[in-house]
């Protein structure tokens, strides 16, 4: 039976809370996660007919019953293997119930899923399932991978978390900041996976943006005083607001300068601008806040030409000093060219290109091509566009870059046959 958006939203919201309750009571993060998935499945088949009076209680009861079964068969398996016959269900219960808010449980889950022992793709898959409440099949179709790959990735991730101790508690204060950075990064990864998709798979992948925004909002509810958490949500909203405008009808990439700004989502922009102001007022700037602030300036400009480039350049200057990321330097070069002219921009590109992390990166050539064209050096520009097209691994970017190369350097009319 088809779930209504309301029911689906309810299930997604209850998923991490139920898992949190189970892991807090019984431990066994890996088995508890399976149990919650099965309870969600049961709910999705029975709830459309009759919604229980207490949906959260219903899910916890069903998931607990399932976990009990899983633990029993796990025990039986262990007994058969003569490894550890003494493990009983009772060993699991460690911490008293109810003293911590369910919201804290969701936060702990997020930190567990973003465990530093996992690779980013694993962190991402596990977060989508354990915190996002997505099924393996949904994650697989959103990431364009076979379901078996995602199943293994999640299983392996859960095992790694359990093997590493995976205690159900928030990290120690000295660890907290680093872990929060990973959580922010994983949510942003979910977002970019969805946002960078083009026409063909727009539908499934647009869901990833929605999921990232949902996770971003959840995190903001849990940590309302962290400006970077607010900054991340703002950055996602302001970027997502341009989704409609950044892809042409034929799936072609439309660069910021050429986008039809009437197609930008004004509601998302309004919320994003508000959040940027809220975050910056705390005077603890960070990379997400700065990127959001830059996007806010783009959002506020009526046309590309009217963009407040000096302000954007200043923000990139702060971001560049903070981030140690040569890609930021490249973006700063584009802003610098707008303020001081293409020559200054090209000099900065030269400096960024010296960074070994950018060696052979297509963006260096794409930015250089753009600036060469601005300064009227079309032949060199076309050549750089072609190098960039050759180096990118993205089909839509390649199409865009080759088109720019052709536009910049129209082929000479063929010589008449003599």
């Amino acid at each position: 039976m088809e779930l209504t958006p309301h029911l689906e939203g309810l299930l997604r919201e209850l998923a991490p809370r139920t898992l949190g309750v189970l892991v807090r009571r019984y431990g066994h993060f890996d088995l508890a996660e399976d149990a919650v998935q099965e309870a969600l499945l049961a709910a999705s088949t029975t709830w459309p007919d009759a919604l229980p009076d207490n949906p959260a209680g219903w899910l916890t009861t069903v998931a607990t019953r399932r976990l009990t079964d899983l633990l029993r068969s796990e025990q039986a398996r262990r007994r058969r293997e003569h490894t550890d016959a003494s493990r009983a269900l009772s060993t699991a219960s460690t911490s008293p119930d109810g003293h911590a808010a369910e919201e804290d449980d969701s936060l702990i889950l997020l930190f567990l899923c973003c465990h530093p022992a996992l690779t980013p793709p694993s962190q991402l898959a596990l977060t989508l399932r354990a915190v996002g409440g997505l099924s393996t099949a949904e994650i697989a179709s959103a990431l364009l991978l076979p379901e078996a790959t995602i199943t293994r990735r999640i299983t392996r991730a859960k095992q790694s978390v359990v093997a590493d101790g995976g205690r159900f508690q928030l990290p120690q204060p000295e660890e907290w900041r680093r872990r929060l950075d990973v959580v922010l990064h994983v949510i942003y990864l979910v977002f970019t996976e969805g946002h960078t998709a083009t026409a063909g798979d727009e539908l499934v992948r647009g869901d990833l943006c929605a999921e990232a925004l949902r996770l971003g909002r959840l995190l903001r509810r849990l940590l309302p005083h962290e400006p970077e958490v607010v900054g991340l949500l703002a950055q996602m909203l302001l970027t997502d607001a341009r989704r409609e405008a950044r892809t042409g009808q034929d799936g072609r990439l439309v660069p910021l300068a050429e986008q039809d700004r009437a197609r930008w989502d004004r509601a998302a922009i309004g919320e994003g601008l508000h959040l940027v102001a809220e975050a910056l007022a705390r005077h603890r700037p960070g990379p997400y806040q700065l990127q959001a602030a830059i996007n806010a300036l783009h959002a506020e400009a009526a046309t590309y030409q009217e963009t407040d480039w000096p302000q954007i350049l200043a923000l990139y200057g702060v971001l560049d000093a903070l981030a140690d990321d040569p890609v930021v330097t490249l973006n700063r070069a584009v802003a610098l060219a707008q303020v001081e002219g293409p020559h200054a921009g090209l000099q900065l590109v030269q400096r960024a290109a010296a960074d070994p992390r950018l060696a052979g990166h297509h963006r260096v050539h794409a930015v250089r091509a753009h600036l060469l064209r601005e300064s009227g050096r079309s032949t060199e520009a076309a050549q750089e566009y072609r190098i960039a097209a050759q180096r990118t691994l993205s089909t839509p970017e390649r199409t865009y870059l080759l088109r720019q190369a052709a536009l910049t350097d129209p082929p000479a009319p063929s010589a008449p046959v003599s």
């Binding site: 991978l145 078996a148 790959t149 199943t151 392996r156 960078t196 998709a197 691994l393 993205s394 089909t395």
Partner: protein, 129 residues
């Protein structure tokens, strides 16, 4: 990021592997060992969640060439021309980094005892410019 790992062999390779074939230079045990090692490699990749898909290809004599003649597809057996090296198998992996892809290709090369090629798969996504 997704990569394709390709392994190549000369046409004789299929014969040398062939159990009891006239040109078989591998003993049954060696062949069994080789397939077990390949199986273990694939199982490792599956367990780590990095395996997308992978296959070994049939003897190249099964190759069919399809080409357009006057805009219509025409299938013919072959090519039978003596090819130095033909594609013997391929796998698609989805890994966290380029370094990891190179590492896995290295393990694969050790298994097949020949060179392998690694190529990134184009992505349908594109960043805003």
């Amino acid at each position: 990021m997704k990569y394709m790992i390709m392994t190549f062999g000369d046409e004789a390779a299929w014969d040398t592997l062939g159990l009891g074939g006239t040109n078989a230079t591998w003993s049954e045990e060696e062949v069994a060992e080789h397939f077990a090692a390949m199986g273990a490699f694939y199982a490792d990749l599956a367990a780590s969640g990095e395996m997308v898909t992978g296959f070994g290809l049939a003897d190249p004599s099964h190759t069919v060439t399809v080409e357009l003649r006057d805009g219509r597809p025409v299938a013919s057996d072959g090519p039978y021309a003596e090819a130095k090296e033909v594609l013997a198998g391929f796998g698609i992996i989805d890994v966290a980094s380029h370094d990891r892809a190179v590492e896995l290709a290295g393990r694969f090369a050790a298994l097949v005892q020949t060179r392998v090629e690694l190529r990134p798969v184009m992505d349908g996504a594109g960043s805003e410019l």
